[in-house]
Symmetry: C2
Subunit: 333 residues, 2 copies
């Protein structure tokens, strides 16, 4: 399996994030990339697909905001990275807001996702990495891995959050759909992939299944509940399987089988996996109890679906085990 | 004019707020109360109207959250005051969330409004103060002043924000409506009264007019734009008059006349004024240029409407001039 990676993704380096009422060191740091690269062997540099496939998912005003936010922050006389302090709870709508703090609130849903000087470039190359791995699968590879950073699955069409700015899985799914494929996305990160869900929530052409910690207790809280099944043309096209904190492989495996059965029922002919290693027992911000060999078992079950599969890297914060966990997963394909 | 005040409102004392990307000292501190009391002379202690008039505006789950939030925060092992870090940007709905951080996100729209140990009691007595001042007007006083703190106009039916937890102006308006009055609310705080607007946005029985800094540049950003006019039965029942930073009395006065004319057209027989002194030239977080005598002129114009008038204290952060500005306003009635 080819592994795609671009080191321009390391240029995104926020210092702190708001978490549980205080500023703490940024957990989604570029040491994650180094740990994974050391474990997975040689990588392929992605080619540049330009902005068009990004703009097919993210509206232009949001992309323009992302590009300019750090410069606007500094122009306002601020130190550090751009981060909001106010967010609309009701009546959110497109508004032509002038102040950087207002724009940050309009386009984000948390205080954990600052925009640093290198954020746009890193997010851009994260998306290009996913598109290049998709290209490998579209042209005959059975499976391909996109070592993406920053992750993407919490980013909606027009909002950032949860360390995510551009939704690489959604951008790849949109591109694959445009290429005529019937796409399913399987999200196995510890956290619900709310951004991906929102992007396809009202669409019948892309199926989204997510196995994740119960949002009653775990981020992102406001999405990923079992009764969220899609709407309009997308009704039935979203499957959420929340599991309680403490879940290990024994309880995880049947949920995975349920998700794969739903994907088969949908008739997908291409699978995109949002893979997060934060389901690992020792993950510092998460509370499932999977062990390294479980990732190989997980991958074998997914591979048994027999679908061309593109894997996008999402979360995973136990850096000392991250490389081993990613390689254990990839080795199952 | 009788001035109503309860010193239990001083028990609300958050230490810091999130503002422009950093934690800064809490601007809405109880020194504001002391400054106003020193200027306005003897006050009347409000009577306790109980929770019923609060629950007529704020749903029970929100009130229960407010009461418990600080204890839940401490039970989660946290220091300091309860404050969120994640907020829903889309698909907000009533959810039975277990974690305090999730509840804080669900019920708030900013990181500037922590819940401290004394917050509930202070907000409760702020509402009682408004209800008692309303009682004076309902029983024949021409005007009455409620020295409320914390302020209320940024709090929606089920959300807090902008230093506000319970919307005292809205609670009084609802009680006055229940008493058979046709109520208009005039909000002259520097910031848009988004909570008050949201509470009455789809109702035809309470008119809301607000003169405030343009939300393109000023908090609360996402509400208060001129095209927000109400919806459904409330269409036309909301009037927003945003003014640019730098506005002084010359440009303010015609906006006030426009608001008062709309209130007359509505046929109000009782007026509630959300009065903020943060339109003052030296206010540290605001950017209008009103001077102390302008508040007397403002009050005279409002009094000339000839309506029984209940005044609720909202913002105002130039503490050294706050008492004089409030008394200048009250002296115009
Ligand atoms: Zn995650
Ligand atoms: Zn104000």
């Amino acid at each position: 399996m080819r592994r795609f990676f671009d080191d321009r993704q390391a240029g995104h380096a926020p210092a702190v994030e708001l978490h549980n009422g205080a500023f703490v060191p940024y957990a989604e740091h570029s040491g994650r990339l180094a740990a994974i690269r050391a474990a997975i062997g040689p990588t392929v540099t992605p080619r540049d697909h330009g902005e068009a496939p990004i703009l097919a998912v993210h509206p232009e005003p949001y992309v323009a905001f992302l590009k300019r936010a750090h410069a606007d922050w500094r122009a306002a006389g601020r130190e550090g990275d751009a981060a909001g302090y106010a967010w609309p709870v009701a009546r959110r709508r497109a508004l032509d807001l002038a102040r950087i703090d207002a724009k940050l609130g309009l386009y984000s849903y948390d205080g954990s996702t600052p925009i640093a000087e290198g954020t746009w470039d890193a997010a851009y190359w994260s998306a290009q990495t996913a598109l290049s791995a998709l290209g490998a699968v579209l042209t005959g590879d059975t499976a391909a891995f996109a070592l993406c950073r920053p992750p993407g699955h919490h980013a909606g069409a027009d909002y950032l959050g949860g360390y995510c700015y551009l939704n690489s899985a959604a951008i790849a799914a949109e591109a694959a759909t445009a290429a005529g494929r019937r796409v399913a996305i399987l999200d196995v990160d510890y956290h619900h992939g709310n951004g991906t869900q929102d992007i396809f929530y009202a669409r019948g052409d892309v199926f989204f299944a997510s196995i994740h910690a119960d949002p009653r207790t775990d981020y992102p809280f406001f999405w990923g509940h079992a009764d969220e099944r899609g709407e309009g043309a997308g009704r039935g096209g979203t499957l959420n399987l929340p599991l309680p904190q403490g879940t290990g492989w024994t309880a995880y495996e049947p949920a995975l089988d349920q998700a794969l059965a739903a994907i088969a029922d949908f008739g997908a002919d291409l699978l995109i996996v949002s893979y997060g290693a934060d389901t690992y027992a020792d993950d510092p911000i998460s509370f499932f109890t999977l062990q390294t060999p479980n990732y190989t078992a997980m991958a074998r079950r997914i591979a048994a679906a027999g679908l061309p599969t593109m894997i996008v890297m999402e979360g995973g914060y136990a850096v000392e085990a991250l490389g081993a966990n990613v390689e254990a997963f990839l080795s199952g394909f």
